[in-house]
């Protein structure tokens, strides 16, 4: 059995944190406003959009990876940028998976809080910008929960990053693909150690997010 090199583990862990946090942050920037939009009204178009987004929460990661693969492959629309097998491609693939999750988890809360505060706010003649700020404030717990659900999916994801990242050691290998690699080589102790580290990372970030999830007031 090959012993794990510390710098190898740190590099994989660092890349995992960077890719996952980047994809989660970018997905939140798109997913939360999308969730807000979905909560806005009961028009047929939005109802259909809500169904589509809900259905997309179950998108198989390999299919998400395949979409990004065809987009970035040499003959694809963005092939000229040579982004395939790079951390950027991995972030993109994770975003396809995480954006619908964040939007789908957030919008029911937006709808409920909007219904609760809408008439009070308009009754007090509050400007629209202030109503939006109050809505975000009231939905803070739901927003953090939605983002952490998305993060959980991103950090545990393996199919898409494998496909568009290529699992290249020192370049695109992350914790999940490293666990697969070590298992494939029969280095079960290494695989379990990396798995344990991944679990610790996920729990630590969830605990940290819990500070923002609770009601401070």
């Amino acid at each position: 059995m090959n012993e794990l090199n510390i710098s190898y583990v740190v590099q994989i862990l660092g890349l995992t944190v960077c890719v996952t946090l980047a994809s989660t942050a970018l997905s939140a920037m798109i997913g939360l406003p999308l969730g807000y939009l979905l909560s806005m009204s009961k028009t047929p178009v939005l109802r259909r959009m809500r169904s589509v987004i809900s259905a997309m929460t179950g998108i198989p990661p390999v299919v998400a990876g395949l979409c990004i693969y065809f987009l970035l492959t040499r003959n694809g629309p963005l092939g000229g940028f040579r982004l395939l097998y790079s951390p950027f491609a991995m972030v993109m693939a994770q975003m396809v998976i995480v954006i619908p999750i964040i939007a789908a988890v957030a919008y029911p809360s937006f709808m409920k809080v909007r219904a609760d505060i809408h008439e009070t706010c308009l009754g007090l003649r509050l400007p629209k910008a202030k109503i939006f700020r109050l809505l975000l404030r009231e939905c803070r717990t739901a927003c953090v929960s939605a983002v952490m659900t998305g993060f959980g999916r991103a950090v545990s994801e393996v199919g898409a990053v494998m496909l568009v990242g290529g699992n290249i050691a020192g370049r695109t290998r992350v914790m999940t693909t490293a666990v697969l690699t070590e298992t494939g080589r029969g280095n079960y102790a290494n695989a379990m150690l990396l798995g344990g580290l991944l679990l610790t990372l996920s729990l630590a970030l969830n605990l940290f997010a819990g500070r923002f999830r609770g009601e401070h007031d």
């Binding site: 609760d116 505060i117 008439e119 009070t120 706010c121 308009l122 009754g123 007090l124 003649r125 509050l126 109050l134 404030r137 009231e138 009601e215 007031d217």
Partner: protein
């Protein structure tokens, strides 16, 4: 300030009431009627959240509307009270909070207040928001009867410059606010004396 011209109010397919022509000026007008007669829908109509099935109405001036279940936000009592003020004035806010018995809770989280205290807070917030037309939907529903009378007197004094319509269930509270009231009975909205409203309720019980 409020002019109603022969409206018919519905909620879905259900006809709630019809009205003749009613003109309201500065003063307090308790809105009285049994459950389901359309008090809430009428106030929501005046606030612009509902349209009459027929007829027309107009409201002149800034409207302040307090719904039946007003939201209390996840911030301090003081923060909630100042929410609708254009220029935040802590001193006058604390004064009003003190008047309704909430001064000692000014810096406490608003959601730790009891339901009745939250209703007092919403009353404060509405008074501080100001306006030419005040619409209150059952502002005393969670407040004990004695306090409701005191608050009714307070509301009357604070909103004396404006037109105030408030849905209430207690005729005693209504009488403290005004001699006239808006009564919804047998599918009709009328402006009448409180005594006439009382007589109607006695008849409906008999």
């Amino acid at each position: 300030m409020i002019s109603i011209r022969g409206i018919e109010l519905r909620f879905g397919e259900r006809v709630l009431f019809r009205s003749g022509n009613i003109d309201l000026t500065v003063g307090a007008y308790p809105l009285i009627g049994l459950n389901g007669t359309g008090k809430t829908t009428f106030l929501r109509m005046l606030a612009g959240f509902h349209k009459p099935a027929s007829g027309s109405f107009s409201v002149n001036g800034d409207i302040m509307f307090q719904p039946q279940k007003p939201a209390v936000f996840g911030m301090s009592v003081l923060g909630n009270a100042m929410l609708g003020m254009n220029i935040r004035d802590r001193d006058s806010t604390l004064e009003v909070l003190s008047d309704v018995g909430l001064a000692e809770f000014a810096h406490a989280p608003a959601r730790t207040l009891s339901v009745g205290e939250q209703q007092r807070l919403c009353l404060c917030r509405s008074i501080l928001t100001g306006g030419d037309v005040f619409l209150f939907d059952e502002p005393f529903s969670a407040i004990d009867l004695n306090s409701a009378d005191i608050l009714a007197d307070y509301l009357k004094s604070k909103c004396s410059h404006a037109l105030t319509i408030l849905a209430v269930h207690s005729l005693k509270t209504a009488r403290r606010m005004s001699e006239k009231c808006l009564l919804i009975r047998q599918g009709e909205l009328i402006l009448c004396d409180i005594d006439a409203a009382a007589a109607h309720f006695i008849r409906s019980i008999e």
